[in-house]
């Protein structure tokens, strides 16, 4: 059982940041009415963050990642989450093998 102070500190900070998000919603935002512009901005947060993670990972790493990302999106239009995960891993492994 290894415990590194650096790792433990960062784990604590990630825990605090995540808990704060949940708590802020329950304590503050449940009482505040947002205007149309700020609520539109807030509602866009999930799609903005997810796309900002996905687009660079799929489009800046190389051809295998780009093709596998495309396949995962197409499969995801119909298939459930677990299938998308497996397809993403399998297709990137296959593409790296074929192209790399």
């Amino acid at each position: 059982m290894t415990m590194d102070p650096y790792n433990l500190t960062l784990i604590l900070l990630v825990t605090l940041a995540t808990f704060t998000m949940r708590a802020v919603g329950a304590v503050v935002m449940a009482r505040v009415e947002l205007g149309p512009i700020s609520s539109a901005a807030f509602e866009a947060m999930p799609v903005a963050v997810l796309t900002a993670v996905i687009a660079p990972a799929v489009l800046t790493q190389g051809l295998p990642e780009a093709i596998a990302g495309g396949i995962a999106v197409l499969v995801g239009l119909k298939a459930p989450t677990a299938v998308v995960i497996v397809v993403a891993m399998a297709s990137v492994a296959a593409m790296r093998h074929l192209l790399g």
């Binding site: 449940a30 807030f42 903005a48 997810l50 796309t51 900002a52 891993m89």
Partner: protein, 234 residues
């Protein structure tokens, strides 16, 4: 307690078909954590205390960057800010809980617990046992799956050859698709995706997610502003 038991089973039955997602997600999180230099114990501790896979994986991406203490928090905040919206909505439906039950629910809120509570609320009052039936199995799987991934992930000498690193992207794509299909999502996605790519290529190794997301949010605000202005015109 019988009524509570029934409520718990109701939640459990709803969550059962989707448990395969946290199983694979937690395994990847554990494997990625040890790959990034955490011990199996630290990886499991992180899953038990953070309990939010997207934020954990994103934080691990910037774990050894300069100013990591700030970057891991920005990573967790940018991906987990959705919990603020979800908690705000759930809070309004659980006012009848005891304070302890309320805080347990908020502290362990997940996408499924939020979504299924919203649907449940349409037909009847949401109970603590109902939410527990959703959250307890997810939590147990999350912690044990991380441990399994941390222990077994060590045995795989090159995880990229098996595409394990891309499982994380698969999860994010599956999470994003329902949002991408909504009206008005395309300009937001294009703005955040394009700016995130530009920021990454420009060398903002750790901040590109945050920068891209802010561009997407700004685009959404701009669209709402223009719509409000159009509505004002006679």
């Amino acid at each position: 307690m019988t009524a509570g038991k029934q409520e718990f089973l109701d939640g459990f039955r709803l969550v059962l078909p989707i448990l395969v997602a946290p199983i694979s997600f937690s395994f990847i999180t554990g494997a990625t954590s040890v790959q990034k230099g955490l011990s199996a114990f630290e990886a499991t501790l992180m899953s038990a205390s953070v309990f939010a896979g997207g934020g954990q994986l994103l934080a691990l991406e910037v774990w050894y960057e300069p100013q990591a203490w700030l970057l891991v928090m920005l990573a967790a905040i940018s991906i987990n800010v959705r919990f603020a919206l979800q908690a705000a909505s759930v809070q309004r439906k659980i006012n009848h809980f005891t304070p302890l039950q309320r805080w347990l629910t908020i502290a362990t809120l997940t996408d499924p617990a939020w979504g299924m509570s919203e649907v449940r609320h349409l037909s009847r009052q949401v109970t603590f046992w109902f939410i527990s039936g959703i959250t307890v199995p997810i939590y147990l799987i999350w912690v044990l799956g991380t441990l399994a991934g941390a222990l077994l992930g060590k045995l795989i000498d090159d995880p990229t050859r098996l595409g394990l690193d891309f499982g994380f992207i698969g999860i994010f794509i599956a999470l994003a698709l329902p949002f991408w299909k909504r009206t008005g999502a395309l300009p937001v996605a294009v703005a955040s995706g394009a700016v995130a790519i530009a920021a990454k290529l420009a060398g903002f190794a750790a901040l590109y997610v945050f920068i891209g997301a802010m561009a997407g949010v700004a685009m959404a605000g701009l669209m709402a502003h223009r719509k409000a202005k159009r509505a004002q015109m006679p």
